[in-house]
């Protein structure tokens, strides 16, 4: 082989290698996955006709097609459920076609949208993304405010006031409304009521009684231990926040101010460490157990877990004991704490006005009380509007599954979910240092002081 040919060959091999190396980071435009058109959209309750919005006689409209990007990485047949709603919507608005694009988790959806926009393509009209992504999306100019649409609604103010306030908190910036709550959840504590009764314990009402109950319910059998409490810390900020709120100080004040080194936050970190170090009620160190905790509670390998309200349906199905749901107990007797989570509808920038109008019609449609109720019943997400709880379907459901009301009530003691400017970096810093504290590499106070300093530096460019 000549040298030149040899080099060309080397380059070719290398390029092919690189090509595949690039693939995970650049999903390009995800090909339209055929939505599984399972006609058996589950439990499609007949919408009470008199409550449905009066079907206005639409003037003959030009056909319009909108795309909705949607994450499906949850424990429910989301694709089938959503397809059912889309069919109903298209029956009511025959000129609008909705193309759902289902993909992995929230991060995958956001990555797909960023790649589409950066590549010069037209983004979807709507996307369901994390409520906390708001500042990144606004700063990148990816989304548009929705105030105009709400103002144009009949009873727009009443429409907004009907959403649970904890869920609407992450929708505002600069006095403008940027998102509409959709699939929302909250941090809760699940417990095995039967185990509590057998041990003669009451549900905890403070950090002290919580730790003692966890200690009492920890059972060691030769090699293995059935822990009183599983509390995962592999993606720690969300499950940790209610501890800080319960100690009296959330980990943020606003989009430019974090309070990682507040004494109450440090105390909350120390309490987490003490649950294993002092009470021996939980495994030591960072617990990378988010994915396995629900199975462990259902099988009786642990008595309590900290988890998302979104796991309720799955747990109710698996558990052969009475399942208790409550917010975390706070530090002081009789106080409780939680934090909301989950995804909102965002309308994308840079799409034609008629598509934006159609997209808003879809948002309005899918946030009608009967659909909010149906979605909550079928997925386990918390119904995000007060009026949804008045629907017959929801009334019947909570009579059967009272835990569904407990997840909503947990929100009464909720603080704001961590959402700041430059969120990815700030959250990364917090994760880095709280895990060092949990793993005993630094003291809680040192770790949180370092996290505060780094986070302030990471916020400086945004918040001068």
């Amino acid at each position: 082989m000549s040298t030149l040919k040899r080099m060309l060959f080397v380059l070719l091999i290398l390029m092919l290698g690189l090509l595949s190396a690039c693939s995970p980071a650049v999903p390009a435009e995800t090909p339209m996955e055929e939505a599984p058109v399972e006609e058996a959209a589950p439990v499609e309750e007949a919408a009470p006709v008199e409550e449905a919005a009066p079907v206005e006689e639409e003037p003959a409209m030009e056909p319009v097609t909108i795309q909705v990007f949607y994450p499906v990485a949850v424990d429910a047949p989301i694709a089938a459920i959503l397809q059912g709603y889309i069919d109903d919507f298209q029956a009511e608005y025959p000129y609008i076609t909705v193309e759902p694009v289902f993909s992995g988790g929230y991060a995958d959806v956001q990555t797909a949208i960023q790649t589409t926009i950066d590549g010069g393509g037209e983004p979807p009209a709507l996307a369901v993304l994390l409520a906390t992504a708001i500042y990144d999306l606004i700063n990148a100019d990816y989304i548009v405010p929705l105030d105009g649409y709400v103002a144009g609604m009949e009873g727009g103010d009443a429409y907004l006031e009907d959403f649970l306030p904890a869920f609407l908190a992450n929708s505002y910036y600069d006095d403008q409304l940027w998102s509409i709550p959709f699939q929302r959840s909250a941090v809760v504590m699940y417990y095995n009521v039967d185990m509590f009764k057998e041990a003669g314990l009451e549900p905890p009402t403070s950090w002290q009684t919580w730790a003692e109950a966890a200690q009492a319910l920890t059972v060691k059998e030769s090699d293995t231990t059935n822990w009183g409490l599983h509390f995962s810390s592999d993606w720690p900020y969300w499950l940790f926040q209610p501890l800080a709120i319960g100690a009296g100080q959330n980990i943020l004040e606003d989009d430019c101010t974090v309070t990682f080194d507040d004494p109450a936050v440090i105390e909350a970190v120390q309490f987490y460490i003490d649950l294993s170090a002092k009470y021996g009620a939980m495994p030591a160190g960072v617990q990378a157990s988010w994915a396995t905790d629900t199975a462990d509670l259902a099988s009786g390998a642990t008595a309590m877990i900290a988890h998302s309200s979104g796991s309720l349906s799955g747990l109710l199905e698996q558990a052969d004991f009475e399942l208790g749901v409550m917010p975390y107990p706070g530090k002081e007797e009789g106080t409780y704490a939680s934090v909301p989570g989950g995804g909102n509808f965002y309308m994308m920038n840079g799409i034609p006005a008629e598509k934006q109008d159609a997209a808003w019609k879809f948002i309005e449609f899918i946030t009608r009380p009967e659909y909010v109720a149906d979605f909550s019943i079928n997925t386990g997400y918390i119904a995000n509007r007060y009026s949804a709880y008045d629907t017959d379907a929801m009334q019947a459901y909570v009579a059967d599954v009272p835990q569904a009301l407990m997840t909503r009530d947990a929100l009464q003691s909720a603080g704001a979910e961590l959402a700041t400017q430059n969120l990815g970096q700030v959250r990364g810093i917090f994760h880095d240092y709280i895990q060092r504290a949990i793993n005993g590499e630094m003291s809680a106070a040192d770790a949180m002081a370092a996290a505060q300093a780094e986070a302030e530096a990471a916020l400086a460019d945004y918040c001068e």
């Binding site: 690189l18 495994p283 160190g285 157990s289």
Partner: protein, 297 residues
């Protein structure tokens, strides 16, 4: 030979045949690389309004990166990951191939057993391992305990073990794949060489070390190139098992690249990391081929 080539009339057909591939490579590989080189000289962050438009900062991104102790740690993690996965999975692949290259009953079962991890998608494999690694009742820990292990069991949550646990999964996944290449190579070896060696009274170890292994050199070269590139580009299991943690203990270069681009929305820095990535792979592959070609000559 080169003179002869120069005198030949120009034939368009070979170039036409290679054109589709060339266009594909140019559009999807050469162009993005050139774009990254260009973008690496600019400060551009999509989530800061005032930095949304790119501004020239020369080598600023590279200087920042190499002054950042955290990025140095990521480079260190990447090196450890490569040293931990590449040689061991190649050696295991070779040993597996020797084991299943015999004419014994049931060898098909063992071939399948060694190869099956390769068939699984990495995310599924990692999810299975997530349960293996579970403290207390996890299969991996139970097996280790049976062998007398009494150390820490919290594999993915322990900063000293997290990187090791993603290495273990990668080795488990890849060894069987490399075994297939070695097996194909072993079955193509000329039988008369071994007969001659046996006649000359060589023992098994001599045959393996002096004949089999040298004859497999080209296969080894190919596998080491594939393994090296694969070690750089496979991070799916890190997302599932550790999300780069705890405290970034299992963050490697490509994971960091993803975080910078899609979590921090920092286009300049992510372009700079891409360039570093390309340079490392380029250096490795060219060295690898040049060294092997020289030996051949």
């Amino acid at each position: 030979m080169e003179n002869q080539a120069a005198r030949k009339p120009f034939k368009p057909l070979p170039y036409l045949l290679i054109l589709p591939t060339a266009i594909f490579v140019a559009v999807f590989t050469v162009w993005p690389v050139l774009l990254s080189v260009y973008q690496g000289f600019f400060r551009q962050r999509m989530n800061i309004a005032k930095f949304r438009e790119p501004s020239w900062i020369g080598l600023g991104n590279y200087i920042d990166l190499f002054q950042d102790p955290y990025f140095i740690k990521v480079i260190g993690n990447t090196l450890k990951y490569i040293i931990g996965t590449v040689p061991i999975s190649i050696i295991l692949g070779f040993l597996f191939a020797l084991l299943v290259n015999r004419k014994v009953r049931g060898v098909g079962f063992f071939r399948l057993a060694f190869f099956h991890p390769m068939v699984l998608p990495m995310v599924s494999a990692a999810t299975i391992w997530l349960f293996f690694f579970t403290p207390d009742y996890g299969l991996f820990n139970t097996a280790l305990r049976f062998l007398g292990y009494t150390g820490p069991e919290n594999w993915t949550g322990n900063p000293n073990l997290a990187l090791l646990s993603v290495i273990i999964v990668a080795i488990w996944k890849n060894s069987g794949y490399y075994m297939i290449f070695y097996l194909a190579g072993l079955q193509n070896l000329p039988g008369e060489v071994f007969e001659a060696a046996a006649l000359d009274g060589a023992n098994d170890w001599q045959i393996l070390w002096k004949i089999t292994f040298p004859l497999m050199r080209r296969t080894t070269l190919f596998i080491s190139t594939v393994a090296f590139i694969d070690a750089f580009r496979t991070i799916d299991h890190i997302f599932v098992l550790t999300t780069g943690g705890p405290s970034r203990a299992s963050t490697v270069l490509l994971f960091e690249l993803w975080s910078q681009r899609f979590e921090y929305q920092d286009i300049g820095v992510s372009a700079a990391i891409t360039v570093i990535f390309v340079v490392i792979l380029l250096a490795f592959t060219i060295t690898n081929f040049l060294v092997s070609e020289r030996k051949e000559a």
